[in-house]
């Protein structure tokens, strides 16, 4: 949600509201995404309810998904940093 061109940033209350709602939205989006991904892994035959084993699977799935995301981010940052120092040494 970008309201910078509308003079709305003059209102700090609105600005804070937008930040909070954006954060909530990012959370929701990730829940949607992880539910879908984890569902694919576990739900061949649904039962009358989600048994505790499947629940644990979903929890593990969420944790590993986030771990994967962080892992990738860290690796990309490392790669970027080494690229930067390479190009710096080239320009000297």
């Amino acid at each position: 949600i970008n309201m910078e061109n509308q003079g709305a940033t003059a209102d700090p209350q609105l600005q804070q509201f937008i930040e909070i709602e954006s954060q909530k939205q990012r959370f929701q989006q990730l829940v949607h995404q992880m539910t879908e991904v984890c569902w694919e892994k576990y739900m061949d035959k649904p039962g009358p309810k989600l048994d505790s084993r499947t629940e644990i699977c979903f929890v593990n799935c969420v944790e590993r998904f986030i771990d994967t995301s962080q892992f990738i981010l860290n690796r990309l940052e490392q790669t970027q940093r080494s690229k930067v120092s390479f190009s710096e040494s080239m320009s000297e």
Partner: protein, 95 residues
């Protein structure tokens, strides 16, 4: 580049749109978007799992399957939401 901003007086003068109104409208839009997202993904999953060869109507077993998958999908969604929330709390506690 302020072409948009110069004509759009959101906060100027007596024509001010109430901040509370804006906030309410945004909340509604977000809620609607979330519901649509959920509906779309749920429909996709239920359809894939329950409807083998699409016939002329949804027969009884297909309908039962859809209902069951809907419930399971909501259970899964809630489980994921809780798990993600816990993870976020833990991450914040570390900082």
């Amino acid at each position: 580049m302020d072409g948009f901003g110069s004509d759009f007086s959101l906060g100027a003068g007596s024509g001010k749109m109430d901040t509370g109104t804006i906030m309410e409208q945004v909340k509604v839009q977000i809620a609607v978007a979330n519901a649509q997202e959920l509906l779309q993904r749920m429909t996709d999953k239920c359809f894939k799992k329950c409807i083998g060869k699409p016939g002329g109507t949804l027969d009884n077993s297909e309908q039962k399957c859809i209902f069951m998958f809907m419930d399971r999908y909501m259970d899964a969604w809630n489980t994921v939401s809780r798990a993600y929330n816990s993870r976020l709390q833990r991450e914040r506690a570390r900082i």
